[in-house]
Symmetry: C2
């Protein structure tokens, strides 16, 4: 697949410098066509035939395999979820922590992780996003490290494997800005939550959760997909593997659309995305204060030029057909650079800084 072929899959790129995959990735023609085909089938044939339910099971199995391959774990370790948040809730609710337990997180986490952490009723210890600060905060009460692989604020990469190894503690990794953007190896990590609709360019809402040891986590939110048999009081036999943590029905259209999105990726995607992110840093360097260090992931955050707020700049860039976002409370503008991003997209952003 050439760059032009890859880019040509996404109609939104014809008109816009679309630099917001950190919120939602671009959708490809094939993904939307697959969704339309499934919906048209359901319109005419209904949603109840044996073939219909078998198709759903096949799509789920295929997606589990693809997510597993993507992050180098067995398919038996993959649950299908509706979002990163959804996966984080499965883990936190399942661990059954209490007020005497501590979880260490960082100052730069998204509410998709913070909400589940707060709901756990554990004491949440918030430290600077560095390995030393995280490891330095460990006490005898620490039960979990819960951090992003790539910070949504600045794109900084945290050394999650090193944290796991040096701490010896279970780790929950929010991989919302990592999987699909940079190579991610979930081997050795306890829990990894993945969105389908960001860097993987899938339909919303979709996602996956890696659970390294499914037997060791309580199924806190059992649904039809969790059980292989149940009693009248709800006691159930969990399905084998992480499939027991599947959080809900996912419409066949989204399953099929995500399957297409995961299969239609160029081999060179990570290299290209990294080159383009570095290129954007270089282009911005002389003009604004860039908050993202060299050789991080595919998010590039910067302060707006003097005299302009982040919100104003984001709104003004929209008029130039440039789609980026503000990081609330930080006065930062964040651009998401993907394997589909052209030099022209980056130049439009830089030109729009005014």
């Amino acid at each position: 697949m050439t760059f032009d072929e890859a880019r040509g899959m996404f109609p939104v790129l014809e008109r816009l410098a679309y630099l917001n995959a950190g919120t939602f990735g671009p959708l490809s023609r094939a993904t939307v066509a697959a969704m339309a085909e499934l919906h048209d089938d359901e319109l005419v044939a209904g949603r109840s035939s044996r073939a219909y339910f078998e198709r759903g099971q096949e799509l789920r199995a295929e997606l589990r395999r693809r997510f597993a391959e993507l992050v180098s774990v067995p398919a038996e370790s993959v649950a299908l979820t509706a979002s990163t948040t959804d996966g984080c809730h499965v883990v936190l609710a399942g661990l059954g922590l209490g007020p005497d337990d501590e979880v260490i997180t960082t100052t730069d986490e998204h509410f998709g992780l913070l909400g589940p952490l707060h709901a756990s009723s554990a004491r949440i210890v918030v430290v600077e996003p560095s390995a030393e600060a995280i490891l330095g905060a460990i006490t005898a009460r620490t039960k979990l490290l819960a951090v992003s692989h790539v910070l949504w604020t600045t794109g900084r990469i945290l050394p999650v494997h090193e944290l796991r190894e040096r701490s010896g503690l279970p780790i929950l990794v929010d991989a919302a800005q990592a999987v699909g953007a940079i190579p991610v190896d979930a081997h050795g990590l306890d829990f990894l939550a993945i969105p389908g609709q960001k860097w993987l360019c899938g339909p919303d809402p979709t996602g996956a959760l890696v659970v390294a040891d499914p037997e060791a986590l309580r199924v806190a939110r059992p649904g039809s997909f969790s059980q292989a048999g149940y009693e009248p009081d709800g006691t159930f036999v969990p399905r084998a593997g992480a499939a027991r943590f599947d959080t809900n029905w996912i419409t066949h259209a989204a399953l099929a659309g995500l399957e297409i999105a995961l299969s239609q990726v160029p081999e060179w995607r990570f290299e290209r995305a990294a080159v383009q992110a570095d290129r954007l840093r270089a282009l911005l360097g002389g003009r604004v204060e860039v908050m993202t260090a060299p050789e991080q992931a595919t998010l590039v955050a910067f302060r707006p030029p003097a005299g302009r707020t982040a919100a104003e700049l984001v709104a003004r860039l929209v008029d130039d057909g440039v789609v980026v976002r503000e990081i609330p409370g930080r006065e930062l503008v964040r651009a998401s650079v993907g394997w589909w991003t052209s030099d022209g997209d980056l130049e439009r952003l830089v030109a729009g800084l005014g």
Copy 2:
């Protein structure tokens, strides 16, 4: 809207005697067209503009109003969920019950309620589905009644308002087989979980949860929609009303499709569905053992003719273009009769009994 006009909205009815809205309702042309339109917009314009997010908020507000109107509660009492199961989990996780608490349920509940009950860690007391049995099982430890409004097994209606009033206990009502099938008034009920994809003919997965007193239930699964502001440790200010319990992002296509499905209903729907359900009972009466009593809801369950299993009969009926389902473990066949069901559909089912 005439009956022919109403029926004409659903292409699946042209070919099949589709009698399985208790699993998934038929989809209308307009619902699928609305989904396709939204996906096509996202393909070209992306999923990140201000207009895009405002559209989502408007669709959510509109759906809240429609669900509220449907079950006679204020819109502030309605959360948007992905399914009945999803809503039941919100309630059970939020109540924070423990092993010393008891919840009373019936022998005829779906795993969509039983799974959340089991996960609550309360003691689940299972009794026959009658008001006397349920009320008779109450002890000083009983914290909740959790029952279906309409049993998924036989279509029997339980007197949920009477149970609430006579017990004085909070009640969680699984309304999966009720809302859209019969008139439902959620006033006076504490919690009511509604699916969008069954009798309301919406896209899957969609649903709503009525929470009469949102302030009194903990937000056990906070996500982006739950909060109006948060701290670095995840402490958050809940949004006003039941919107704080919204469980996840719902794709705009599903929101728009459901909005169309909820708006395109004939005034005569409940009367017509009741008449057709009675008609099916009468047609089946002389030929098989009908398990559904007169004047219940829109599910009609019956034993297959002697010498045939329920699974065999369901499979054989498919060959005749008749879609019904088996109730596992009960040796029952269940037909779902909707306001769109014709006399011809019912006659095809009866003819297929062989």
